[in-house]
């Protein structure tokens, strides 16, 4: 009987459920949108006469942070729903958010450092915004390490749901720190930059024209598409583990 169930489970998993139509649409949109927004940043947006070509990295640097914001925000949502309902799909969503969000946050952090080298004449400085962004990355890297380190599944999911909710504080601090700590040299593009900001530029209509599609892509379509793929993968991984356990039990 168990053997028959296992065979059915394995057969079902081998023939992975086809991607939902919406996910396929989002995947195509993500690919086309990424290529399109990159083309806008590289070819349609004007060159900043003070900063030079490196300013174009801004069209990825800032949207990638907001992409991380969306992904980490969905980690909070997934964690809260898991704690409330104890359904593994919400844990999968939380995990997917942490993983995709960390990739986006690393893009944000590293493109910022690469921009800073020619503009600030240094790869890194312990500025409040940079420090908080680094702490945010480390916090979510720790989330993934903890996930690999706790064996008890139920305990792991509950603990990481709580961890994921509290980790979001680092995202909020990173987002708002340049508005509340005047010592930062990190520029603000929308609104007035801090007094000590270095490397500011105005969000003119040309900048916004190239930035808006990129923001929409990185804030919504891109993290959700990647998270959806990651969550599906995790679901299959879970089912594989179930199958392994049954085979071992047999």
């Amino acid at each position: 009987m168990a053997s028959t169930e296992n065979a059915q489970l394995a057969a079902g998993l081998l023939q992975a459920r086809p991607q939902p139509r919406l996910l396929r649409l989002l995947t195509v949109l993500t690919a086309l949108g990424f290529a399109g927004t990159l083309a806008l940043a590289l070819f349609a947006a004007g060159t900043d006469i003070q900063q030079g070509e490196i300013q174009r990295i801004f069209y990825i640097h800032m949207p990638s942070f907001f992409g991380a914001f969306t992904a980490f925000g969905l980690t909070v949502l997934g964690g809260a729903l898991y704690l409330a309902r104890r359904e593994t799909k919400w844990d999968h969503m939380a995990l997917a958010g942490a993983e995709v969000g960390l990739a986006f946050a690393l893009i944000n952090l590293l493109t910022g450092a690469i921009w800073a080298r020619p503009i600030w004449n240094t790869w890194w400085t312990w500025d409040p915004r940079l420090t908080s962004a680094a702490v945010m990355c480390l916090t979510y890297a720790a989330y993934l390490l903890l996930r690999a380190g706790i064996e008890d599944e139920e305990r792991k999911r509950s603990f990481l749901a709580v961890y994921g909710i509290f980790a979001f504080v680092t995202v909020l601090i990173t987002l708002f720190i340049i508005r509340i700590v005047p010592e930062t040299i990190h520029p603000v593009i929308i609104g007035a930059s801090p007094q000590n900001a270095q490397g500011s530029f105005e969000a003119t209509s040309g900048v916004v024209l190239a930035l808006l599609p990129s923001m929409l892509l990185w804030l919504t379509v891109m993290p959700i598409t990647l998270m959806w793929h990651r969550a599906r993968l995790e679901r299959r991984m879970d089912r594989l583990n179930q199958l392994k356990m049954r085979v071992l039990d047999d």
């Binding site: 053997s3 998993l13 006469i49 990295i57 990638s64 990739a103 929308i190 003119t204 990651r230």
Partner: protein
């Protein structure tokens, strides 16, 4: 459906926020002359005569020209002569009336003043820019007056005004000296706060900027010096070269592709591992069965 709604809500919020931001920000009409080689402010109320890579502005009321040009030369004096020749002032020139070097934030500049002929005087600042020289020149063609523009290292950094440099310029070009107790008037101009001296045969304006002083001096029949000094110094202070940092952009883009590529590759790798494990488990089941 829930996901689709969330997506739409986020997209709508982002669209509204950034449309609002776009409307709240100024238009990008930078008052700058831009060329691949350099950028200088456009001078309002001056007639623009720029062509190609060279920026040129002319003020008919003072018969004055301010020209910024990139020229190929091996030395600063030759660069200045080449820039002036390209601007329509034929060589050869006599020995310069003044020549000196000054260190500014963007490098070492050579300041040279030539008497082109009895009526025309050229003041120029030149510095190396890659394999060429950038030359910012001021030429006045007023037969009744001589106007020169100087950039001098500050003689006394404890003195708040440019009085020592004005005195040095007067000694050099007007054969006069500034009395130690001379009262200098303060003149606010768009380029900064200037100290003004006005004598019978000469007038001067001086502005302290960092470790240097900018001095504008006029001898002969005195006219309006302030607009000339202000325009030339706005050009000097507003001049900059757009940096070539496209290699950093390439590095940034490579980083983005590397991180996203690693993420996607890890998805594929893990999916492949799952497929292989299932296949193995199925094979085991078959063997057991």
């Amino acid at each position: 459906m829930t996901l689709a709604r969330l997506l739409l809500a986020l997209a709508a919020a982002a669209f509204i926020a950034f449309t609002a931001a776009a409307q709240a920000t100024p238009e990008d009409s930078l008052p700058y002359f831009q060329s691949p080689g350099f950028n200088v402010p456009r001078l309002q109320n001056w007639e623009e005569q720029s062509s190609g890579e060279n920026a040129q502005f002319y003020l008919a009321a003072a018969s004055a020209t301010i020209r910024t040009a990139l020229v190929s030369a091996t030395e600063a004096p030759a660069a200045v002569e080449a820039a002036l020749a390209a601007g329509g002032f034929p060589q050869p020139f006599d020995a310069p009336l003044y020549s000196g070097k000054v260190n500014l934030a963007d490098g070492t500049w050579t300041n040279i003043v030539y008497a082109i002929d009895q009526e025309r005087t050229a003041s120029a600042m030149a510095r190396r820019a890659g394999d060429r020289f950038v030359v910012i020149s001021f030429v006045e063609e007023d037969p009744a007056a001589r106007t020169v523009m100087l950039t001098l290292p500050r003689a006394d950094e404890e003195t708040a005004s440019a009085a020592p440099e004005i005195s040095a310029a007067l000694a050099q070009f007007a054969d006069a000296e500034l009395a130690a107790d001379a009262a200098l008037e303060t003149v606010p101009l768009p380029s900064g706060s200037w100290s003004a001296y006005r004598g019978a045969d000469a007038q001067a304006l001086g502005m302290v900027f960092g470790n240097d002083s900018y001095v504008a001096l006029q001898t002969g029949t005195l006219g309006e010096l302030a607009p000339l000094a202000d325009a030339y110094n706005r050009t000097l202070l507003g001049f900059f070269i757009t940096p070539d940092n496209s290699a950093f952009l390439a590095l940034g883009l490579a980083t983005v592709f590397l991180i996203l590529g690693t993420l996607l590759l890890s998805f594929w790798w893990r999916a492949r591992g799952i497929r292989q494990d299932f296949a193995l488990l199925q094979a085991l089941e078959r063997e057991d069965g």
